[in-house]
C-alpha cells in the first residue's frame, strides 16, 4: 500500500501545498474548458437546454470512484486512509437546501465562481463577495446554528453501507444510473427549445 502518498509518508508533507496549486490548476482548467465559468450554461441543467453540469459532475464522480476502488483492489491504495466526508444528517440536508436556493439564485457554486472570476465574470465576483458575507453571517450567528451544525453525526458513513451493498456494487449501479442520465439528458436537450446564452 503506497497511497495515499502524503499520509503514508511517501511524499513529504511539505509538498502538500505545492500539489494543491497544481491540482487546483487542473480543476480550474477542466471546469472552465467545459464551460463552468458561465452561470447561464450551468443553470441550463435545470431548464433542459444544457446538461453540462450533469455530464461533467457525474462523469468525474464515477471516474474517481471507480479509480479509487481499483487502486484499492490492486493494493496500491489504502482506502481506509481516505478522508470520508462525515455525515451530519440534519445539517447536510438543510445546508444542501440552503445551498440549492443560493445556487438557483446565483447560478454558481464556489468552485465555478472562482472559474468565472478568473475569466472576468463580474457576476461571479459578486457571488464570491456574497459568499464571504454569508460565511461571516454564519460565523457570527453561529450560536443560533450550533445545535443543528453538530446534530446527527454519523461519522464517516458510506452510502454503500447504509444501503447494505458492497462498494463495488454501488459503484456499478451508480455508473449505470449515470449513463442512463446521460442518455436521458441528450434526449431532453433535443426536445427543449433552444436558448441563446
Amino acid at each position: 500500500m503506497v497511497a495515499p502518498l502524503i499520509p503514508m509518508g511517501v511524499i513529504p508533507e511539505s509538498w502538500n501545498n505545492v500539489f494543491a496549486v497544481i491540482l487546483g490548476f487542473g480543476f480550474g482548467f477542466a471546469l472552465e474548458s467545459a464551460g463552468f465559468s458561465s452561470s447561464r450554461k450551468i443553470i441550463g441543467t435545470f431548464f433542459g437546454y444544457d446538461f453540462v453540469v450533469l455530464k461533467v459532475f457525474f462523469t468525474a464522480a464515477i471516474t474517481a470512484m471507480i479509480g479509487l476502488l481499483y487502486l484499492s483492489y490492486i493494493g496500491w491504495l489504502d482506502y481506509s486512509l481516505l478522508y470520508i466526508h462525515p455525515t451530519f444528517l440534519a445539517s447536510a440536508i438543510i445546508g444542501g437546501i440552503v445551498m440549492g436556493i443560493g445556487f438557483s439564485m446565483g447560478g454558481y457554486c464556489p468552485g465555478t465562481s472562482f472559474c468565472g472570476m478568473a475569466i472576468g465574470k463580474i457576476d461571479a465576483m459578486i457571488f464570491m463577495v456574497g459568499m464571504v458575507i454569508g460565511v461571516f453571517i454564519f460565523s457570527e450567528a453561529f450560536p443560533l446554528f450550533e445545535k443543528l451544525y453538530n446534530s446527527g453525526n454519523l461519522g464517516g458513513k458510506l452510502v454503500s453501507d447504509s444501503l447494505g451493498v458492497s462498494k463495488s456494487l454501488f459503484a456499478f449501479l451508480l455508473t449505470v444510473v449515470a449513463i442512463g442520465m446521460f442518455y436521458g439528458a441528450t434526449w431532453v436537450e433535443k426536445k427543449v427549445r433552444k436558448v441563446e446564452y
Partner: protein, 175 residues
C-alpha cells in the same frame, strides 16, 4: 466537440472534461488522501481576516476558534493554495479559448443590476449553507461521492433537488 456557434466560443466535450476532472480528483485523493474543495478556502479567508482584525473576538467566538488553533490548519491552507491553482487554471483555459472578458452575464430579459443582486444574495445563501453542510458541491458533493460518503450523496441530492425547484421559481432570471 460542442461548438456554440452563435457566440463562437469553444467548449470541450463535457464527458472529456468530466473525465479529466475525475482524474484530477483521483490524483488528489491518491496524493493527499483528501478530496478537493472550495468553500473551505472562503471560510479560511474569513477566519484569518477576522483573526487579524479582531483576534479577541475570534478567540471568544465558538465558530472561529475552532479553526484558529494551530493544529487544525493544514487542510484549510491547502484549500487556499488549491484556489490559487483554480484561478490560474481557469484563467489559462479562458485565455486559450479566448473567453477572457469583463462582463456581467445575464439573461437578456433582466438587467445587470438584477443579476448582480441575485448573485450577491445567492452567494450569501451559499456561504451559509456551505458552512452548515461543511462542504459545497466540490468538496462535499463531488469528493464525498467519489469516496461513497453518505453525507456527500445527501448533500448533493439536497443541493440539486432544491436548485431544480427554485430555478423554476426564479425562471425569469434565466430564460
Amino acid at each position: 466537440m460542442e461548438k456554440n456557434k452563435k457566440s463562437g466560443t469553444f467548449y470541450l466535450n463535457p464527458y472529456l472534461s468530466g473525465f479529466i476532472f475525475g482524474m484530477v480528483l483521483l490524483i488528489t485523493f491518491v496524493i493527499t488522501g483528501r478530496g478537493m474543495g472550495a468553500s473551505g478556502a472562503v471560510k479560511s479567508t474569513v477566519v484569518e481576516a477576522v483573526n487579524t482584525v479582531a483576534p479577541g473576538h475570534a478567540e471568544k467566538s465558538v465558530y472561529y476558534s475552532k479553526f484558529i488553533s494551530d493544529d487544525a490548519h493544514p487542510m484549510n491552507t491547502w484549500l487556499v493554495f488549491e484556489v490559487i491553482g483554480i484561478l490560474a487554471g481557469a484563467f489559462f483555459s479562458g485565455l486559450i479559448f479566448n473567453r477572457l472578458k469583463f462582463k456581467v452575464e445575464h439573461s437578456p430579459k433582466i438587467t445587470s443590476r438584477r443579476r448582480l443582486i441575485f448573485a450577491l444574495l445567492g452567494g450569501a445563501l451559499f456561504g451559509i449553507g456551505s458552512q452548515l453542510a461543511k462542504g459545497c458541491t466540490s468538496g462535499a458533493a463531488l469528493s464525498g461521492m467519489a469516496v461513497l460518503s453518505l453525507g456527500g450523496f445527501i448533500t448533493m441530492m439536497a443541493i440539486f433537488g432544491t436548485a431544480f425547484i427554485f430555478a423554476w421559481i426564479f425562471k425569469k432570471n434565466w430564460i
